[in-house]
């Protein structure tokens, strides 16, 4: 520490005199008519009901790593693929189609926990999910669903591989059928629960769309699964064409729902980076595959197959972008201080209104 004395500002005679006058007026009449003194550093950053607490966000943004949107994509596709595989298995569809759908599900069942563990940081942390089952926590429901899904799909895949290599046998048939039977409800759960997971949170863009999200995510998962199968060479299956068309049409409808309504909570889906990703992801999930699939109906055999592979590729990329977009929208939504404080959407925080104070670092605390 230096030994220099603290230097006080020079008294300013005219300001002091004016202050005296103002005080005197206040004393006599109880109020002041003249404009007040402008203190050093004024205007002060302001916290108020209209401007919030300096615009510092109330809510914490999601702290998930980029593995989580990737998991939503992989888990959604795997869940839908398992349903396709199981139904195809019981209906007696082409065996190669059933097998490839099962492989997608099995690959997803392996990749998904790996992604979740990468997000948690340490493998043993995933075991914490297995301590309890909490129906009121979508995260707990999802963890158990994923565990069950992995077991069911690997059982069916294992039995299928053994059957192909060593021929059919009674125990293998039981294992395969049981695996596929369990994979239906678990696959349906895996493809839809992530919508509830982010919907039942404090983040406005998520919880205000909680009724849409599971349907939206299920359609996204299905279109990704169908797209992957078409890319794997099943671009002539009429069943897949119907499923892909249904999912794409639902995504068109979801796009209209997002773009056609004016709600503040939808803003992160329309503006900024998250808005751009939402729109590109939406176009690749809905209108583009729909158009390509429609075109394929009127094209020749080989041309139709190629158009459907393009539709499938578009849907796969669209599904991935859609998951990334929703998570980024959640971050943007949490950083908007207006929603949870129920302040009008056009309200500006003090620092927003005074960009000359931008050098003041926005407090970040995580």
């Amino acid at each position: 520490m230096s030994n220099q004395p603290i230097r006080l500002p020079e008294p300013q005679a005219d300001r002091e005199r004016r202050l005296h006058d103002i005080r005197r007026e206040a004393e006599l009449s109880g109020k002041v008519s003249v404009r007040g003194i402008r203190p050093q550093g004024a205007p002060f950053p302001k916290a108020s009901p209209e401007t919030g607490y300096y615009g510092i966000p109330l809510l914490k943004p999601p702290q998930w790593t980029h593995q989580i949107p990737l998991y939503f994509f992989v888990g959604g596709a795997a869940g839908a693929a398992a349903v396709v595989s199981a139904i195809g298995h019981y209906v007696g569809a082409e065996r190669k189609l059933v097998r490839d759908a099962r492989y997608i599900a099995a690959a997803g069942a392996v990749i998904s926990p790996a992604l979740l563990i990468a997000d948690l940081g340490k493998p043993e942390r995933f075991l914490g999910m297995m301590r309890v089952f909490k129906p009121q926590s979508p995260m707990s429901v999802g963890a158990w669903t994923l565990l069950g899904f992995g077991s069911a799909v690997s059982a069916a895949t294992f039995a299928g591989l053994m059957r192909e290599r060593y021929g059919p046998s009674f125990p293998l048939a039981i294992l395969e059928n049981a695996g596929e039977a369990a994979a239906i409800p678990l696959g349906l759960g895996l493809a839809t629960y992530t919508g509830v997971l982010i919907g039942a949170t404090a983040i406005p863009v998520w919880n205000q769309n909680v009724g849409d999200l599971p349907l939206h995510f299920a359609a996204s998962g299905l279109s990704a699964a169908v797209g992957m199968l078409e890319l794997m060479g099943h671009s002539k299956s009429r069943a897949l064409q119907a499923l892909g068309m249904g999912a794409a049409l639902f995504e068109v409808w979801e796009g209209i729902r997002i773009e056609g309504r004016k709600h503040t909570h939808l803003d992160p889906l329309k503006h900024g980076t998250s808005g751009a990703i939402t729109r590109v992801g939406g176009a690749l999930s809905g209108p583009l595959p729909t158009a390509l699939r429609l075109a394929s109906l009127f094209a020749g055999r080989e041309r139709a197959s190629s158009l459907r592979r393009w539709a499938g590729a578009s849907a796969v990329v669209g599904s991935l972008l859609t998951r990334i977009a929703w998570l980024r929208a959640g971050v943007a939504s949490a950083q908007d201080w207006r929603m949870p404080l129920e302040v009008p959407p056009d309200a500006q925080s003090w620092p927003d209104k005074h960009p000359e104070f931008d050098s003041r670092s926005k407090a970040e605390n995580t």
């Binding site: 203190p39 409800p185 839809t192 119907a242």
Partner: protein
């Protein structure tokens, strides 16, 4: 054992941040926010993984002549923020591992040896309190000094508060005290004195209540905080509908498709 609570009276707070320091010292919470945020004398801006008590500075331009304010000094209201320890807590409901529990004192406690760092509580908190420490990987927040309460001591922040702005005691007693205090303040002419305890929403009240001047939104306190579990019914209904459509659609698609393997 009776349930306990904090009552933080912003009209008594002098902004000394002794509560922040006492909390960090007792709980061994790492240093953060030695830099000024630029918003009055606030350092950290909000509570988080490494800030369990946070003094908010609401600064206003001076009203010269009134109360003898000097012309070049701002007028202030300070309020020490903390985890609200909700009666129905979003973080507790969301936690998939059971790491977050309700203690016998009514507080909400994250067991650090159980937390697996899934960060779902972070998005489930309507007050933006609990956060994941990125280095450690687990979630942290105010423990309501569970260890101190266990041996009959009051929480470190309340103990350190030099003006008794942070009061600690039995919850119903504090609620009654708060009503009286607001009445006293209003009688003294502070017409804007209010009591913040959101019992009217799904949070059903908190174990950290506040006496404030003016609108709670000035202090980043939400007027209507909701526990995210209120969205579950709508979400699972939609999921059931989605599952039905997915199952029915797939069945229909394969049944109408003639392609079969000859068995």
């Amino acid at each position: 054992m009776s349930t306990t609570a904090f009552l933080t009276d912003s009209t008594l707070c002098i902004g000394c941040k002794a509560c922040e320091v006492a909390c960090k010292e007792w709980n061994h919470v790492g240093e953060d926010g030695l830099e000024w945020s630029g918003y009055s004398y606030d350092n950290t801006g909000a509570v988080g993984a490494s800030t369990w008590r946070h003094v908010k500075f609401v600064e206003e331009p001076p009203t010269p002549g009134i109360g003898g304010n000097a012309g070049d000094q701002a007028s202030w209201v300070f309020s020490s923020d903390v985890c609200k320890h909700c009666e129905v807590a979003g973080c507790l409901e969301a936690c998939p591992t059971g790491a977050i529990v309700r203690t016998e004192f009514g507080g909400v406690f994250v067991q650090p040896d159980v937390c697996n760092g899934c960060a779902y509580c972070v998005v489930a908190c309507p007050f933006g309190v609990v956060a994941k420490n990125r280095e450690d990987g687990r979630a942290f927040k105010c423990t309501f000094c569970y260890d101190r309460q266990k041996v009959g001591l009051e929480p470190a922040c309340a103990k350190a508060c030099p003006t008794e702005s942070i009061k600690f005691g039995e919850i119903n007693q504090l609620r009654a005290e708060a009503q009286q205090r607001v009445q006293v303040l209003q009688d003294r002419g502070m017409d804007d004195a209010t009591f913040y305890d959101p019992t009217h929403t799904s949070v059903q009240g908190t174990h950290a209540m506040f006496i404030l001047r003016g609108d709670p939104r000035t202090y980043n306190l939400p007027p209507n905080p909701e526990v995210p579990t209120t969205y579950l019914r709508k979400g699972w209904t939609s999921a059931a509908l989605a599952a039905g459509l997915l199952l029915g659609g797939t069945l229909l698609a394969f049944l109408t498709d003639g392609a079969r393997d000859a068995q």
